[in-house]
Symmetry: C2
Subunit: 247 residues, 2 copies
Amino acid sequence: MTYCVGLKLNEGIVLLSDTRTNAGVDNVSRYRKMFTWEVPGDRAIALMTSGNLSITQGVIARLERTIEQAEINGDKDAETILNAESMFRVAQLVGAEMRLMQDTHRASLEQSGAAADASIIVAGQRKGGDPRLYLLYAAGNFIEATEDTCYLQIGEHKYGKPILDRVVTPETPIAEALKAAFVSMDSTIRSNLSVGMPLDLAVIRSGGLAFDVLRRIEPDDEGFLDISRKWSEALREAFHALPEVSR
Amino acid sequence: MTYCVGLKLNEGIVLLSDTRTNAGVDNVSRYRKMFTWEVPGDRAIALMTSGNLSITQGVIARLERTIEQAEINGDKDAETILNAESMFRVAQLVGAEMRLMQDTHRASLEQSGAAADASIIVAGQRKGGDPRLYLLYAAGNFIEATEDTCYLQIGEHKYGKPILDRVVTPETPIAEALKAAFVSMDSTIRSNLSVGMPLDLAVIRSGGLAFDVLRRIEPDDEGFLDISRKWSEALREAFHALPEVSR
C-alpha cells in the first residue's frame, strides 16, 4: 500500500508521502514515491505515485527520458514537463505516459492476476501560473484540488482523512498544514502496516517557483516523533475529558 | 454500507450499530442491524449484521423461526439460540444458518453481479458462562475477541478504528467504552455517507444475564450530539496546541 497526501493552500503546497511498497505481506520493500523537478525561478514540480510499481516507475522513467533526450538533442521545441506551458499541460503529459503504460501492460498484468491500477498526484507551480494540485487516475484523466476540497490523497486514504476534514482549509497557514499532514500520516502508519517510514516531505510556497522544503523524514526524526507522541497524549486527554454518555 | 462495533470488557459488552443500508447511492434506506434476545436470569444475546441485506435478514428470520417452531411444537429438545448450551454453540448455530443462506443464494447472486458477502457480530452471555463476542464470516466460521484485541467491527471499520486502538482495553470501564463507541461511530458517520443515524445501543453487564441498556439513539439525541460536538472541539484544540513542525 501507500499513503500520499497533497494540500493546496493559499500560502502554497504541502506534499507528504511514505516509502513502503509490498507485494503480499511477505514481500515488503522501500521505494521513493515522491519525484521532484525544479528550475529555480521558473517552476517546481512534484509527483507522488501509488499503485502498481512497475507502471508508476515506467511513467517516471519515460518523463525523465523525454527531458534527457531533449537536452542531448538540443531540441528546444521538444515538449517536456520542464518547459510545458502550464501545470495543466504538465498533468496532461503525465496522463499521456500513464495511458501508454496502461495500454502496454494492463492486459498482460490482468492475465497474470495482477492489478495495473495506479494513481499520481501532480503538484507544482510554473512562472506566470497559480500553484496547482491534481490527482491523475490510471486512465490518464485527472481532477484538481479546489477551494471546496483543497487536499488530495492516494493510497490508503481513510485513516488519515478525518483530521484533514476537520482542520484544513485553503486559509490554513503552511505551518499548520505541515502539522495536519504529519498527524494524517501518523494515524495511517499506526493503523495500516503497509504504510511506513521514512517519509518524503516537500513544500512549495506560492510564487516561490522553487522547493522551500524538500527532505526525507527518517524514523528517528525528532520533529515527527514529537508530533506523534503529543498527538497521542492530546487525543487520550481529550477523550477522557469528554462528558459521560447519558444511557 | 454499515458500521457496527462490539467491545468486550471486564465489566461487560458494549454494542453500537448504525441503521443505514444502500444499494447504490441513489437507493438509501433505514434498516435495523441489531437484533436481541433475552431470557432474564438465563441469557442475553445480540447480533449485529453487515453485508448483503437479503442474506442477513434470512439468517435472522431462520433463527427466529426455529425458536417459534420449538415453542409451537412444545419441543424442548429442539436446539435454538435460546437454549444452546454456550455462546460458542450460539455462534455455531448462527454460522449454520449463514452457510445455508450462502449455499442457497451465493451462486445466483454472483451471476446477477451482486455480492453475497455478509458478516455478523454475535455477542452475549448465558448463565454459567463468560461474556463472549464473536465475528462471524460469510463461510460461517468465526473468531472471538480476546484480551489482546477486545473489540470487533463489521462494515466500514477504518475511520472508527484509531480511537479504539488508542483508548480501549479490557480494563476500560463501561462508561468510558460507551464514549469510545460513540466517538468511533461519530468519526465514521462524518467520513462515510453510507453510515448514518439513528443508532442502536446495547450494554450487557458481566453476570447481569439481561440487557442493562437497550435503546435507539435518534439523530437529535442530546447525549450523542454532546459527545460529537465536544470531541470536535477537543480535536481542534489539541491540534492547534501541537508544536510547530521543525522543517
